[in-house]
């Protein structure tokens, strides 16, 4: 598909008189991973939540291209249609996996529920699909009936990713997917995300404060400061040839390994 999956124009979200995110415009194409980086308070999480329709935008337009090729105006979408979109075509990976999982049901059920929400009924097939996905995110499949709380943080995050990807979404939002994880776990998770986004031709919008994550995961990068996008472009170009003073500061501040 040659048309952008998501078209954002002049999107703004304020908290009273304070700027959350201001005047953000970009296109996102199928199969592209776009990272939004910025320090605490830069507006990146506000932007992500506004794009995912969790927050009401104040100004701007937001269009999404459906599987049939129609352009949907997301800001005027009815609540039922919004929920349908989130169930069938979108995913949202929370920073804290416990916010994105159901603690009261098993790992397998966490993966199977989204399938049931889109109409799957055959218990055996649902369980088989859940097993496959656990294996894909490198979780021990014999633990399919264990509760999420019995898994480590890194495992819970991988379980959350499986729960989000099992329905084959076209667009996944991720809010700091590796924050709070050990570096070795982080490496495994990034590797998994890289592979899956490429294999499944997923578009992903990833918010992170970690430039290393962006370098590894993203084709494109947007740098935010004080609610605005100060620089945007190809990841390798923005990191190797930063133009904006703030980007140069960010890049030069990364501790070498």
């Amino acid at each position: 598909m040659l048309n952008p999956l998501l078209q954002v124009r002049n999107l703004s979200k304020r908290y009273g008189s304070r700027i959350g995110c201001e005047d953000v415009s970009f296109d996102l194409y199928p199969g592209e991973v776009l990272c939004v980086v910025g320090e605490s308070g830069s507006g990146k999480s506000t932007l992500l939540s506004t794009l995912a329709l969790r927050l009401q935008a104040d100004t701007g337009t937001l269009h999404y291209t459906s599987t049939e090729g129609d352009s949907i105006d997301l800001l005027s979408l009815s609540e039922p249609r919004r929920r349908l979109l989130m169930r069938t075509e979108w995913g949202f990976v929370e920073q804290n996996p416990r916010d994105g999982l159901r603690a009261g049901v098993s790992a397998g059920a966490n993966i199977g529920e989204p399938l049931m929400a889109v109409g799957a009924r055959h218990y055996g097939q649902i369980r088989a699909t859940a097993t496959q996905w656990m294996s894909r995110v490198e979780l021990d499949t014999s633990r399919i009936d264990d509760l999420p709380a019995s898994f480590s943080g890194g495992m819970q995050q991988r379980l959350q990713i499986a729960r989000n990807l099992v329905t084959g979404p076209r667009l996944v939002f991720m809010d700091e997917p590796t924050a709070g994880l050990d570096v070795s776990v982080q490496a495994r998770l990034l590797d998994l995300l890289r592979t899956l986004t490429s294999q499944l031709q997923l578009s992903a919008l990833v918010v992170t404060h970690d430039i290393g994550v962006a370098r590894l995961l993203a084709h494109r990068l947007m740098v935010m400061q004080h609610g605005r996008v100060v620089e945007a472009g190809l990841t390798d170009q923005v990191l190797d040839d930063p133009q904006h003073p703030y980007t140069q500061l960010l890049v030069s501040s990364v501790l070498p390994v």
Binding site: E32, A187, H219, R220, L234
Partner: protein
């Protein structure tokens, strides 16, 4: 043509450059890359805004079947020029146009399908990603090591991105790694622990495997012994004879002599301007 505002002036100049480029690409079917007046100055805001000029008004044409070797002292801007041609650096001035690969690519915008060339400077990130997939190959000096990905997968990746089946991609990757004397026992390992020379050969394999029509090679033989330098020189020559348009930097004179069809001399900017 009257030029009223500075904004219009810039747009008019771009149109003139675009028109000149289109004519050049139309009249010369072997032309793949056309760079005119390329300048690059780095402004270091974290150092009080000091400006470092790296390139000044460089012209370069790359045509099928040739290998242009960039020569000049350290700091002359050779690497910078290659990076501008790949879109890794943003040129401060000048224009780069590339042959439109639309015939092979389905993800290049339909609007430009009829054009012989595409304006590379100022192209959207999405377009540059597509051009890197189908037109521009790049071998950098250093392998960006991705944790946990096996050597074979790293080398096969450009083919996988083009839609080649995994089995075939891995077979071709293996062939190329074998040619570059990377032992089979290393293929399943991530290259992080390899020697510099081994990493460089993995880098070269990944850069050459997809037969890009344009190849940009930044010191591909720097860490290699004589035997492997010869293998790489042979691979480059084969690519050139297949019709690739190649620009490369090689510090070793033997390799240069083997692969070059012509040389382009660059001088550090301060010397040139002074």
């Amino acid at each position: 043509m009257t030029l009223a505002l500075s904004g219009q002036h810039i747009a008019a100049v771009d149109t003139l450059q675009d028109a000149a480029a289109r004519q050049a690409f139309d009249s010369d079917p072997a032309l793949m890359v056309r760079a005119r007046g390329i300048s690059k100055t780095f402004t270091l805001h974290t150092q009080g805004g000091v400006e470092i000029p790296a390139l000044h008004q460089v012209d370069l044409d790359l045509r099928q079947g040739e290998c242009v070797v960039l020569v000049g002292p350290s700091g002359a801007g050779k690497s910078t020029l290659l990076r501008c041609l790949y879109g890794n650096y943003l040129a401060s001035g000048g224009a780069i146009h590339v042959r439109n690969p639309a015939a092979d690519a389905t993800d290049v915008a339909a609007a430009t399908a009829a054009q012989p060339c595409i304006a590379f400077t100022g192209a959207s990130p999405h377009s540059v990603v597509a051009l890197r997939r189908h037109l521009l190959g790049y071998v950098s000096q250093f392998l960006h090591v991705i944790p946990r990905v096996s050597t074979l997968t790293i080398v096969a990746e450009p083919l996988l991105l083009r839609g080649v089946e995994a089995a075939e991609a891995e077979m071709r990757a293996g062939d190329l790694l074998a040619r570059l004397n990377v032992p089979r026992r290393l293929w399943t390992l991530p290259p992080a622990t390899f020697s510099g020379g081994e990493q460089q050969r993995v880098n070269i394999a990944r850069g050459l495997i997809a037969d890009h029509p344009v190849l940009l090679l930044d010191e591909p033989t720097a860490s290699l012994d004589a035997e492997n330098r010869a293998v790489v020189a042979e691979l480059i020559t084969q690519a050139r004879k297949r019709g690739a348009a190649i620009a490369g930097i090689f510090h070793d004179e033997d390799t240069r002599a083997q692969v070059a069809t012509r040389r382009l001399e660059l001088q550090p900017v301060l010397r040139a301007v002074a």
